[in-house]
């Protein structure tokens, strides 16, 4: 039971091969899957079964925090030293909309980036063991972790789609 899992990395030249392999592995019940592609490919994303990304929550919360900060900050500073300029009210909401808007965008964008970094596990500082430089050029890839007893089955599904490369190697379980 505590035997280490086997990791298999397959590289494919063709998009339909990699999608076929993912579908095959999914159907056979393999869950520890990871796909590589040189560009965002929605067919792979669909095959992996992704829903909505939580990054959107980061964007929303960041944006709303920015709006609140923008209004709170401008109103607080005006009240802190009340000084009438240009015959306008001390708290001039229309003028503060500009600041609140800019901070909405600023905080929203920064929160989106933080959300991306957390969810996409960036920066990734461990050495790239399970990786092939071809994955950033023109090749697609699948990495699957299987218990040793099922390794042959996984290997068979991967080979069915004629991989350009097939190798084994495990990676320390990542957070």
């Amino acid at each position: 039971m505590n035997e280490p899992n086997t990791g298999i990395l397959a590289g494919y030249e063709y998009l339909d091969s990699v999608v076929g392999a993912i579908e095959g592995l999914k159907k056979a019940g393999f869950k520890e899957l990871r796909a590589y592609s040189p560009y965002p490919e929605h067919h792979i994303e669909a095959a992996m079964g992704y829903g909505q990304s939580v990054v959107r929550v980061f964007a929303l919360v960041g944006g709303l925090t920015g709006t609140a900060t923008g209004f709170a900050f401008t109103i607080f500073t005006s009240m802190d030293w009340p000084l009438v300029t240009g015959g306008k009210p001390i708290v001039s909401i229309p003028a503060y909309v500009v600041i609140a808007f800019e901070l909405t965008v600023l905080f929203g964008a920064l929160a989106t980036v933080i959300g991306l970094f957390i969810n996409a596990r960036l920066p990734w500082l461990k050495p790239n063991v399970v990786y092939d430089p071809e994955f950033s050029a023109g090749r697609y890839g699948i990495y699957v972790e299987v218990p040793p007893t099922r390794a042959d089955e996984a290997r068979r599904i991967l080979t069915e789609q004629e991989p350009a490369e097939l190798r084994e190697g495990t990676e320390a379980p990542h957070a």
Partner: protein, 457 residues
């Protein structure tokens, strides 16, 4: 099952690229060998940056009196150039964010260049308020911070809005630019050796292109684009309110915000053309940036030039139609006063020259577009000069009228600002892949083992 055909994936824009890996080879080789031409341009730019800092340093040392700024014209070349450079920045965000949301397939080839241009143009623009304030060591007073006298900035002032708008714009466009570059930096890492590999290893932050990374990356990119889109419209609106919120004749107009935004995009698209024409030639990117892309850019230029021309005509019409003596005089003075030449340069370059873009032969002729784009750049700089200077030198009271002449220091800084911009842009073409590698692959037809439509086994 993937069934996209060649035409569906936009293959028609890049007919000469056969394999996905070719993109890496063609783009990454640009990073590997600097030609003599690059070094010559870089030397020129470095010399210009020297001129820039020499002129600015002299002004800091001797005082703002070295500029031609005085009563009544307190805003001159520096503010003109600030508005010009912020405007240049805008089309970069338009191409990278707005056209991304509209799914315009031709943007992929040019957007990385346009985005880099945005970042460097804002970096250039941001220096001008610092130059303009004179005592630059007090520039931090622009930022609201809790100080010993509990004084806060006046948030009712458009100048303070501008501080927020421009700093937000710089931060967001730089972040957007960097995030979009990460997958390409990973591609550069995988193709490089030695010290360069180490560098790309660090700045690509261990990107591996896994499904999970692409999934969140794609979504984050959409949100960043959605946030950058209203931002780009707001920034030049806020810049225009620096003028429109004042009661100076020639400035106090509600049309200013849309007029400025259109002008900004117009000048920025022209600048993209100015930059891409030599880049394509030097780096051999003919298969990536085709005449179709230039045609699309030229159409964008034509559209915005029409909006700008319409705004000019509206301004003149409203001045006449208002029946207000001061306003009428201000616009009469623009056309036939002391600065008539600046106004006529503006009208010729921005109203007359782009008429040529109606013809497809000209839109698809790269030398013609290059020349037109330079005229547009000149015209748009003079547009801002006209707005800033002719309005200030001829306000309400005749005894307060005056003439402004840019000094040598101001000219040195203006010329130097182009070199400063070029300096960063040239560095960019050597360090970061100047064409978006991964995004370009999205519009190429995917490699398929079986023909589309064939049964899936």
């Amino acid at each position: 099952m993937p069934t996209a055909t060649r035409t569906e994936r936009g293959a028609l824009t890049h007919p000469d690229i056969e394999h996905l890996g070719d993109v890496n080879r063609d783009i990454l080789k640009i990073l590997a060998r600097p030609g003599k031409g690059w070094w010559a341009l870089f030397g020129l730019a470095a010399a210009g940056v020297g001129l820039f800092f020499f002129s600015w340093g002299e002004q800091i040392y001797k005082g703002i009196g070295l500029s031609g700024l005085n009563e009544p014209v307190g805003w001159g070349v520096y503010i003109t150039s600030f508005v010009f450079w912020v405007g240049i920045a805008h089309s970069g965000t338009l191409i990278s964010a707005i056209l991304f949301l509209f799914r315009a397939p031709w943007r992929q080839a040019v957007y990385r260049t346009a985005e880099a241009m945005t970042v460097f143009a804002v970096m250039t623009a941001g220096l001008f308020p610092l130059i303009h304030v004179g005592r630059v060591w007090h520039a931090y007073w622009l930022i609201p911070y809790p100080n010993s006298r509990f004084l806060w900035p006046n948030f009712r002032s458009p100048l303070v809005w501008d501080v927020f708008a421009v700093t937000t714009y710089f931060t967001v466009s730089a972040v957007f630019f960097f995030i979009g570059t990460i997958p390409d930096l990973a591609a550069a890492r995988d193709g490089a050796r030695g010290l360069r590999r180490k560098l790309y290893q660090v700045i690509s932050m261990g990107w591996r292109g896994t499904d999970r990374q692409w999934h969140h990356f794609g979504k984050a990119y959409i949100f960043l684009a959605a946030l950058a889109t209203p931002l780009v419209l707001s920034v030049h609106s806020v810049v225009s309110w620096d003028f429109a919120m004042a009661i100076v004749p020639g400035w106090h107009a509600t049309i200013f915000a849309p007029y400025f935004v259109a002008g900004a995009i117009y000048s920025g698209v022209a600048m993209v053309i100015t930059l891409i024409v030599p880049m394509r030639k030097i780096f051999g990117l003919e298969a990536y940036v085709t005449t179709k892309h230039f045609d699309a850019l030229a159409k964008l230029c034509l559209l915005t030039s029409l909006i700008v021309l319409y705004a000019y005509l509206t301004e003149f019409f409203m001045a006449w139609y208002s029946g207000e003596e001061i306003e009428r005089t201000a616009f009469w003075n623009r056309l036939f006063g002391d600065y008539w030449w600046a106004t006529w340069i503006m009208l010729t370059c921005n109203g007359l020259v782009p008429i040529m873009l109606w013809f497809r032969r000209i839109r698809q002729s790269i030398p013609a577009l290059f020349v037109i784009s330079i005229f547009v750049n000149i015209g748009m700089w003079f547009e801002r000069y006209v707005i800033v200077v002719t309005s200030l030198h001829h306000e309400y009271e005749p005894w307060a009228w005056g003439i402004y002449r840019p000094s040598l220091t101001e000219m040195g800084i203006l010329v130097g600002s182009f070199a400063w911009f070029g300096f960063w842009f040239l560095l960019f073409t050597r360090v970061l892949p100047p064409v978006a590698i991964s995004e370009l692959k999205e519009v190429l037809p995917p490699p398929l083992r079986r023909r589309p439509g064939e049964a899936h086994s």
